[in-house]
Amino acid sequence: MSVSVEIRDLYIAFGSGPAAVKVLPGVSFKVKAGECFGLVGESGSGKSTVLRCISLLTDFWKGEVLIDGRSVRDLALIERCRMLQMVFQDPYGSLHPRQSVRTVLHEPLVIHGLGDREERMQRAITDVGLPVEFLDRFPHQLSGGQRQRVAIARALILEPSLLLLDEPTSALDVSVQAEILNLLQRLRDERGFTYIMVTHDLAVVDHMCDRFAVMLRGEVTEILPHEAIAVNGATHPYARELIGASLDYEGIR
């Protein structure tokens, strides 16, 4: 069950009057069903804001966000949450310190009135490669990688079609990052998720994504296939600079 996403002229400004800051002056891009789409760019370029707009965590934007042709604003809250879920950057901040994994995974099931709760929780936790006993642990009893797995399990438990990943591995070590990337890759192969992934690491983009957009000051400068990274096939000067810097950094050139 894959969904496509289309964003048209997404506009958002924070503040009002002359002091308003246009964060996204008008972003448009399309993501095919089952695609992994990357968003890259320097900090402050509005990558995360795009995700927050799609998920309606920030809702005072103008423009259109269509999921499988339907506007995200037309979806009822319950339906929207089952359609799309978000995984946040910092697993140390995104899990409630006083709620056990069980509580975290149980709440959405209650809200959405789903049955077979024990079974669903066990499946979600084993899907992300953790033993069932971990349901009774608290976040402080988990390592960073395990926490991020719980955050992914929380996003998966409602069986969404679209996952919005906001730098899912940048707080983690390379060895743990590898585990999480493998997990995301496997889940996508098995379930046909559509991913929109924000990251600043082009090596991760090349490994995971089909296409990616380079953002600069709120605007999409260029949309490229992942193969363009290794040969620096960008035409926009900023995109070229960004890819060039990443290649230098990896010591490839």
């Binding site: 320097e42 390379v174 060895s175 743990v176 590898a178 493998n182 090596a203 490994h207 990274i229």
Partner: protein
């Protein structure tokens, strides 16, 4: 490598109230070179850096030898340590957002290092600061001098930190994840500036990082730490020929641009890696 700046033998650190040692017998020497310390979070790499500056109140630090030039770091009194910190040995911290004082002007914070360690007039400290800010490639240094930390970008903040730490012309600089908080493009600029200053002035540099690409490009030698031990020491240029399975695992776990898109290798942690190295 002409002269040894730092000589560490069998360094052990235990945090107060912890049953196990965070650092278990680390030994290395440092000349006028750039040494990288890599490892995962919790491997004790930052703890080593902080111990050198004796910034670990409450922790017990023991070592067979902990010499910095002519000084025995373990024997120094706190008052004597104050003359070492910032003057002869300094530390660049990870995030300029949290390590600069938000309510003091940038320039005053940088100049403080100089005023504290040298007998001089405010005017002289001001001029030195401006010159140093220019050396870290900050345009319009006079304007930045008067700004507050929230008015400058992250990359500029990190350059200000570098200026602050190099102003007193130390012999050893410890950089603890100096660029993790920065974007790739900015990161390269900052590293290049740090690199050229360290080379020109013949400063010893310890670069603490979890980023293998960074140490590969900006260090001469690399120590790889795992669970409080140094498991392997390598030349940075020979990182790819690492012998220890942990180092090999770290290298394999890293996605590469243009690499095959197969699942990444995952570390299979072996209990024997925990053994102390002779």
């Amino acid at each position: 490598m002409d002269k040894t700046i730092l000589d560490v033998q069998n360094l052990r650190i235990r945090y107060a109230g912890s049953p196990t040692e965070a650092v278990r017998g680390v030994s290395f020497t440092l000349g006028r070179e750039r040494l990288g310390i890599v490892g995962e979070s919790g491997s004790g790499k930052s703890t080593v850096g902080r111990a050198l500056l004796r910034l670990l109140p409450g922790a017990s630090i023991t070592a067979d030898r902990l010499r910095f030039e002519d000084l025995d770091l373990l024997a120094l009194k706190e008052r004597e340590m104050l003359k070492v910190r910032g003057r002869r040995m300094s530390m660049i911290l990870q995030d300029p957002k949290f390590s600069l004082n938000p309510i003091r002007r940038v320039g005053d914070q940088v100049a403080e290092t100089y005023l504290r360690h040298f007998k001089c007039s405010r005017r002289e400290a001001h001029d030195k600061t401006i010159a140093m800010l220019e050396a870290v490639k900050i345009r319009d240094a006079e304007r930045v001098f008067k700004q507050y930390p929230h008015e400058i970008s992250g990359g500029m903040g990190q350059r200000v930190m570098i200026a602050m730490m190099l102003l007193a012309d130390p012999d050893l600089v410890i950089a603890d994840e100096p660029t993790s908080a920065l974007d790739v493009t900015v990161r390269l600029q900052v590293l290049t500036i740090l690199d050229s200053l360290v080379r020109d002035r013949g400063i010893g540099l310890i670069m603490i990082s979890h980023d293998l690409n960074l140490v590969r490009n900006f260090c001469d030698r690399v120590l790889i730490m795992y669970a409080g031990n140094v498991v392997e020491t390598l030349k940075a240029s020979e990182l790819d020929q690492a012998q220890h399975p942990y180092t090999q695992g770290l290298l394999a776990a890293q996605p590469r641009i243009g690499g095959p898109r197969q699942p990444l290798a995952v570390l299979d942690r072996k209990p024997e890696w925990l053994k102390e190295q002779a």
